[in-house]
């Protein structure tokens, strides 16, 4: 209860990472990284492979300690006691091969401080929800890959964590199971739980995340809400489908570049030219416009631009 109250005072910051650095010998895996994660939001932790995502996550969940900087969770310095409030689904994950599903789920729950009687109730509930009840007494080796992933996911949420950290949760998952997991994530979100979601799949991140952090080569590149990141990225793109617009479009003071797609054109506006200006000029020129849409850069575009740039 005390923890809950201090939480409130912390402006709903679930996680605060401050100037964290982690080195392995001569190699710096994470360098001077700082960011906050707000409670009740889905936080996308993005970056190419080897950027330092997993190292950062391992420090957040208390597997390793940072060489410098601090990590605060729920308003407290990270400690083993706080591990019970985190649910962590690692990118590389597995189950005991020759153990019954119910036994390993109970073990994982107990390690998170859930009494075994309570754990049994929750296991039944989750297995039922995932349509896996009949597999309860089966061993891992009897389950398909997809089922095993669902079991791993259950083991992450059994103790009803306040912070859920999912490292590449959808890799290798079939679309039905992806939807399933999305539902659970959405449910966690409505219950004011915080979700950190690490991925290199930008489409998924774009769909799920309210905030993002992009890191590359152990350093922060971008951070903020999805909206502000996109706005800040500031490229002015228009999707246009129109006839008789050639004259206006050829004006170099207005348009920098045109990329033609099958039935529409992607217009890159020149510096300091607003989309409204172009629209006005087009209408004045008498062009027939069937589509005029301001397009935001996709997260994927931002990612590629930032990482390769």
């Amino acid at each position: 209860m005390l923890i809950f109250l201090t939480n409130m005072n912390q402006e709903n910051v679930t996680l605060r990472v401050e100037n964290v650095t982690k080195r392995f010998g001569d190699f710096t895996a994470v360098e001077d990284l700082s960011f906050d994660v707000q409670a009740g939001r889905v936080f996308g932790f993005l970056g190419p492979n080897g950027a330092g995502k997993t190292t950062t996550i391992r420090m957040i969940v208390g597997i390793t300690a940072p060489d410098a900087g601090s990590i605060e969770l729920f308003g407290h310095k990270m400690s083993y006691d706080l591990q019970n409030r985190i649910g962590y689904l690692p990118e590389e994950r597995g189950l005991y091969k020759k153990m019954k599903i119910v036994d390993q789920l109970r073990y994982f729950a107990e390690l998170k401080g859930v009494p075994s009687a309570e754990a049994d109730k929750r296991i039944d509930r989750w297995l039922d929800r995932m349509n896996l009840s009949e597999w309860k007494k089966k061993k891992t080796t009897d389950l398909s890959k997809g089922m095993q992933q669902k079991i791993q996911f259950i083991s992450t949420v059994l103790h009803d964590p306040d912070l859920l950290i999912l490292d590449e949760p959808f890799s290798g998952l079939d679309p039905i199971n992806v939807e399933f997991m999305m539902d659970v994530i959405a449910e966690f979100k409505t219950r004011e739980k915080t979700i950190i979601f690490s991925t290199h799949l930008m489409e998924t991140a774009e769909r799920l995340c309210s905030d993002i952090l992009l890191i590359n080569k152990s350093k922060k590149i971008l951070s903020g809400s999805l909206r502000s990141v996109k706005a800040g990225y500031g490229e002015n793109l228009i999707a246009l489908r129109a006839s008789g617009a050639e004259a206006v479009l050829n004006d170099k003071t207005l348009v920098e570049k045109i990329i033609s797609h099958s039935d529409e054109q992607e217009i890159h506006l020149a510096q300091d030219v607003g989309d409204q200006t172009l629209l006005k000029r087009l209408i004045e020129s008498g062009a027939v416009i069937s589509k005029f849409e301001h397009i935001e850069p996709s997260l994927n575009d931002i990612f590629i631009a930032e990482i390769s740039g």
């Binding site: 391992r58 005991y96 390690l111 083991s155």
Partner: protein, 450 residues
């Protein structure tokens, strides 16, 4: 602490709730029983009676021989032998086995054959013919003059390898010839036997505390204890390694490390598996006590003399203590290896050195059994790595002074503290290193840095 116990419970159940545990637990006493009982059973199996022809060229021996080989006479002799061996505790196990089986073994059926007025060559040919057509199993040729120094007694048998039958026959023949010679020399045989009776020399080992004990059964018990500890330490050490590698290989370690302290995870694993080992040992010790108890009464009832070593509850207590010391020493080494490697196969190569050390300790236990008070026995029974095997063996062979046991326990406890500390350092780093096997310098770096 709660998480630590969760790990202990989990690891314990993982080992004990398995068919292999049940099978292993049952198999060992079964194997031990087989080693102890099966040879005796096999030797006591009664063969078919040997059909024998006696060609008595002297004409004096056959009746005596028949009498000596009669069923009653053989039984009486066996009883006499059993009475002797009760006192004669220095006799080897083999000797006793033979005696025990003789009483049940060889019996003879005499086949009449008329050899009168036939030259010996003809007799041999005819009897060989009978053997060939399975009319008889053996024949015995007694010389005309049994007193001659070069008198030859020839025995031909289809079952020449049946040493029980052969020795029974030999005994009977010897006795018959001896009796005949006494009779020829006019010596009263019963008088002579009475006068030439053996003295009762009781050979017993005397320990330094002055208590007598049975050296032979002690040797066997010490050997079995040594073997039992060697086998359990090897098996449970490897089990630890397998469990560590599995958690590393399947990446479960990552989930575990995000839930509990690495030290709790590793030490909980050692304690859980150790308790499983203790469970198995307890089952063995209890079943051994029961088996020996039942066996004693059984064998007594059958008239087969056996002796058991003098094992006190204190010895059993020490035995468990040293098992646990050995377990934690070798289990932490195997846990360390498990955290270094990426597959069980790789671990197999690395587990060779500790197993060699264990094996050397097992071999040292023979030296300890032979002379429990030598300085070699002293040193190997307090040395870390060896003591878990050699000290229980030494305690069984001859209880050393208490200070030596205490010293041995302390030295090994310190060794455990160091090894567990080393293993936990390697464990917390190594468990998260995927893909490649750690080199020794790397491991050294983890130990220094972690």
């Amino acid at each position: 602490m709660r998480k630590f116990f969760a790990v202990v419970k989990h690891e314990y159940k993982k080992v004990v709730y398995k068919w292999s545990f049940l099978i292993g637990t049952l198999l060992f006493p079964l194997l031990a029983a087989m080693f102890a009982v099966v040879p005796a059973i096999i030797f006591s199996l009664k063969g078919d009676a040997t059909r024998i022809v006696v060609v008595d060229q002297s004409g004096k021996l056959e009746s005596r021989l028949r009498e000596n080989l009669s069923v009653e006479r053989i039984a009486e002799k066996a009883r006499q032998a059993a009475r002797d061996s009760m006192k004669d505790i220095s006799a080897s196990q083999d000797e006793r086995l033979k005696r025990g089986s003789e009483q049940l073994g060889g019996s003879f059926v005499f086949v009449d054959y008329n050899s009168r007025e036939k030259p010996i060559e003809l007799v041999l040919r005819e009897l060989n013919g009978k053997i060939a057509e399975n009319g008889i199993d053996a024949y015995l040729i007694l010389p005309p003059d049994i007193d001659a120094p070069n008198a030859e007694f020839d025995f031909y048998s289809r079952k020449a390898g049946d040493f029980v039958t052969n020795s029974t026959l030999e005994d009977a023949l010897n006795q018959a010839v001896r009796s005949q010679r006494f009779a020829d020399a006019n010596i009263d045989e019963s008088k002579l036997r009475e006068l030439s009776k053996n003295v009762n020399l009781n050979t017993s080992g005397i320990s330094e505390t002055g208590e007598a004990k049975d050296s032979d059964s002690t040797f066997i018990a010490a050997f079995i204890i040594g073997l039992m500890i060697y086998i359990t330490l090897t098996i449970y050490g490897q089990a630890i390694m397998g469990a560590v590698v599995e958690e590393k290989e399947t990446r479960i370690a990552e989930i575990l490390f995000s839930s509990a302290k690495p030290f709790d995870l590793m030490f909980g694993k050692l304690v859980g598996v150790g308790l499983a080992g203790l469970t198995q040992l307890s089952i063995w010790v209890i079943s051994a006590v029961v088996l020996i108890g039942v066996g004693m009464t059984q064998m007594d009832a059958m008239g087969i003399p056996i002796s058991i070593p003098n094992i006190t509850p204190l010895m059993i207590f020490y035995f468990f203590i040293f098992f646990l010391l050995g377990f934690f020493i070798y289990a932490s080494i195997f846990a360390l290896i498990g955290a270094m490697v990426t597959t069980v196969q790789e671990g197999g190569q690395f587990s060779f050195p500790p197993i060699m050390v264990l094996l050397v300790g097992f071999y040292f236990s023979f030296a300890v059994i032979r002379d429990p008070n030598s300085s070699l026995s002293f040193w190997v029974s307090i040395a870390p790595f060896f003591a878990p095997i050699t000290m229980p063996v030494r305690i069984l062979a001859e209880m050393p002074p208490f200070w030596q046991i205490a010293l041995s326990v302390s030295i090994n406890a310190v060794a455990i503290a160091i090894l567990v500390w080393l293993a936990s350092r390697v464990y917390r780093v190594g468990m998260l290193m995927y893909g490649k096997r750690a080199t020794i310098p790397e491991v050294w770096k983890w130990i220094r840095q972690a």
